[in-house]
Amino acid sequence: MSERYDAIVVGAGHNGLVCASLLAKAGKKVLVLEANSQVGGAAVTRTFADGYSVSSVAHLLYQLQPQVRKDLGLNIEMTASDMPTVALSTDGKHVRISGDEVSGVNAHDVAGYKNFCTRMNRFADLLKTFLNKTPPRLAKDASRSDLLTLAQLGLDIRRLGKVEMQEFLRLIGMNIRDEVVERFDSEILRGAISLDAVMGTHLGPRSPNTILTYLYRLAATHGAIDQPSGGMSAVSEALAHSARDNGATIRTNMKVRRIVVENGRAAGVETESGEKFSSWLVVSNADPKTTIMELVKPKNVETGFTHRIHHMRMRGNAAKLHLALDGLPAIKGVDKREFAGRFIIAPGDDYVERAFNHAKYGETSAKPVFEIVFPSFRDSSLAPTGKHVLSAIVQYVPYELRANWNKKSRSAFEKLAIATLAEYMPDLKERITATELLTPVDIEEQFHIHGGHWHHGELTLDQFLFTRPVGGAAQYAMPLDGLYLCGAGSHPGGGISGAAGRNAARAILKSGYAL
């Protein structure tokens, strides 16, 4: 007889932990099963070389929803807050961005950037309200509260005022490139904004709805970037403590092999080792494809739904590059103090678009774009004294590489990425003592995310709000009794935000689930 729980959460990713904690807080007996040895999913700090640790996937915190912090009473120590950005240029004429202030550009751009931020932040605030709610149902069976939520969305847009409303409706499906080219003279600034809009996606600055992805990035803290003390595990550990304090049981090294379906409903889970746990409520923090195609199996759900899940777009395009350095590299025109901030290599919107071109055809970028931090600069726990870690998100690195991912293609890309970095950091190569490259294929394998896509599915208008992950299943409840989704594949989407986990927990508790 297997042990019975009120709820079993598959995966201790940050959303799974948020959901588990809230369910436990409501008095439910909750079990969280995590395949890896650490909690946090893709929000973890791991040792990648002797003495060197780094946040393995997500390395900066800027999307954690204030409501999640509040509900769980989280107190996460930061080693750096409101980190400024240096957008690098090979000639040393960098552009520096901090909040709504920018330097290294002309007066027109300085004023323009302030206006741009004000408007974008206002729109992001509007979005934020809806990121923290279950999307309303539009079907015939819409309830009163669905209609109220929908009415509020309309009202909030109307409340922007006529001019701003028209601007919002014009921008929401638009691409970021058209907007930055219209507004700014500085190539570097255009590139910097473009990069923030396309980070972690299979989109270029000229792809539709890249303004939406930009707003999504701002829709928690207006894009203010923090670095948790000890890396991203600090966030996950805080969430795990919260869940445990509320009474949830978390077990690591327990990979769920399947979600047990009995009499047409979820009835528990079975792990790789054959252990069974029973519950009438299974909440999957795994991505929608893994959940439905692998854990539930198509035969237990219907054809149309299977088809929609199967065709969800979720092929990762971002790699992580970690370098162990015996000292900070020199960057022309950069002061040592600035290593506490964030660097980006995206000198121009066309540069970013060209980097994306390759990805469309299954090739890695010839000139990749980078988001770089030196987390050890402020956090000595991450590297031996005097030594440093470089952590970079590198794009575009397609999951489905036409030449296939193997030792040769990996090492060729790593070499290319380091060579590109070296254009800005001339002494970088001689400082490297160890490297780690995580391609989307590695991310898929090590973090169990289909396609290695951090957002558990491309964040595009057709996979957003009412249709995330797919139409008819956007309210966290899957079309299998007793199965819920609580990860980034459900509304609102990816990033270390916790919104999906919180919304899912609230949807479950509101449904008065027979526990």
Binding site: V261, E262, N263, G264, R265, M293, K297, P298, K299, N300, V301, E302, T303, G304, F305, T306, H307, H310, G472, P479
Partner: protein
């Protein structure tokens, strides 16, 4: 390719050479890429061969999918609403399949040829839906429509004809059974199935056997009144049998555009095919909900007064009402039942067995139109349902 290079715009059945010899009408229509005869001699004559002797209908254009593989049973069990675990090898199941909303895509027959080896037959083509349903399953779906030709041999003398043809063991074949038989040294399959609601068989063979089989069948059938028939005669008999037809009595859910124009199996009177004990099948959740809330439509069999077929008529709950409650989809004067019969769709809660409804029948006499409000009773059983349909062995003639 030029137009001149295309020999035929439509496929011809392998039986065509024989059909061409007997054809007196030259009335053909298109059926899923094939030419199919409306009739060969005279519809009434052909109709009476089905009811009084034996009519032979060319089933070749019927779409046939071979479904095999380790997941074949799981696959079919999710696809259709009935429990396929109960259909053993050597049996045939009439089945209906739905989309996720529980709306009927089509109906058809599934032949369990041998363990894990199935053939699905339907009037319409469904490769796209079948392929979509195979996502994540280890199953192979092959369209074998052109590799298999078939004749429906239907009527009271059909058993005697097959026996006279030398088909050994045909007497053991029960309704909805299938078996493989020897024919001139090679194999054919015969199933006791059909679309006429009478004693009858369907013979399945490879195209190279087609003409030999036709000849042997018609030779043996000479003294039993055998006759080739077309779609019009078959259509009359299928209404008498109470069978529904796609694009006539319902629209496949995948072709409807307007909301509410598709039908659920419950609305089509096929609730006996929906097995809610089965944990999962396409449309189960929606159908369970519909069962709880009640259906919108109800397909009815109507016994109508008078002798004017109620083609395309509106149906009313009372003769004075201005608002109709439904409409007729198939209608015919049944010579064998001596009844004016029809299939129709009415809004729930109308259409319960025994309900009295009114059908607005228009008919023309010497150019002038007349209208009657004919009384119609909702009936339960098929209009034509002779005991010989079920008898095993069937009686000889």
């Amino acid at each position: 390719m030029t137009i001149q290079e295309v020999e035929q715009g439509r496929l011809r059945s392998p039986f065509y050479p024989r059909q061409a010899e007997i054809d007196r009408l030259n009335n053909w229509h298109e059926w899923k890429g094939y030419s199919s005869a409306d009739g060969f001699y005279d519809t009434t004559l052909e109709y009476f061969s089905i009811r009084n002797s034996t009519g032979v209908f060319d089933l070749t254009p019927m779409t046939k999918y071979r479904i095999t593989g380790p997941d074949a049973l799981d696959y079919l069990n999710r696809l259709v609403t009935r429990d396929m675990r109960k259909i053993k090898p050597g049996r045939v199941a009439y089945a209906v399949w739905c989309d996720d909303q529980g709306q009927v895509i089509d109906d058809g027959t599934i032949f369990h040829l041998s363990e894990g080896d199935y053939r699905l037959c339907s009037q319409e083509r469904h490769m796209s839906w079948l392929t979509m349903s195979a996502i994540g399953m280890d199953v192979s779906i092959v369209d074998e429509t052109e590799e298999i030709c078939a004749l429906a041999v239907q009527g009271p003398t059909s058993f005697s004809i097959l026996q006279a043809m030398g088909i050994k063991g045909i007497e053991k074949l029960r309704p909805f059974g299938l078996a493989h038989f020897d024919f001139q040294g090679s194999g054919i399959m015969i199933s006791r199935t059909g679309f006429t609601g009478d004693l009858g068989y369907e013979v399945w063979l490879s195209p190279d056997q087609a003409l030999d089989l036709w000849d042997a069948l018609f030779e043996a059938g000479k003294i039993y009144g055998i006759m080739a028939i077309g779609t019009e005669a078959l259509e009359q008999s299928r209404i008498e049998a109470g069978f529904i037809a796609a694009y006539v009595d319902f629209l496949p859910a995948d072709v409807t555009v307007r909301s509410g124009r598709s039908r659920s199996p419950l609305e089509l009177g096929l609730d006996w095919l929906v097995d809610f004990k089965k944990p999962n099948f396409n449309g189960r959740r929606a159908l369970a909900e519909e069962k709880r809330k009640g259906s919108t439509w109800q397909l009815v069999k109507l016994d109508i007064e008078g002798n004017k077929p109620a083609h395309h008529s509106y149906v009313y709950a009372n003769p004075k009402s201005k608002k109709e409650v439904g409409f007729i989809t198939s209608a015919v004067w049944s010579p064998v039942c001596k009844q004016n019969i029809a299939l129709g769709t009415v809004r729930s809660p109308h259409g319960k067995v025994g309900d009295k409804l009114y059908v607005e029948v228009y008919y023309q006499r010497e150019m002038h139109w007349s209208r009657v409000m004919a009384e119609a009773i909702v009936v339960d059983k098929p209009f034509w349902d002779p005991p010989r349909k079920r008898a095993t062995p069937p009686g000889p003639f």
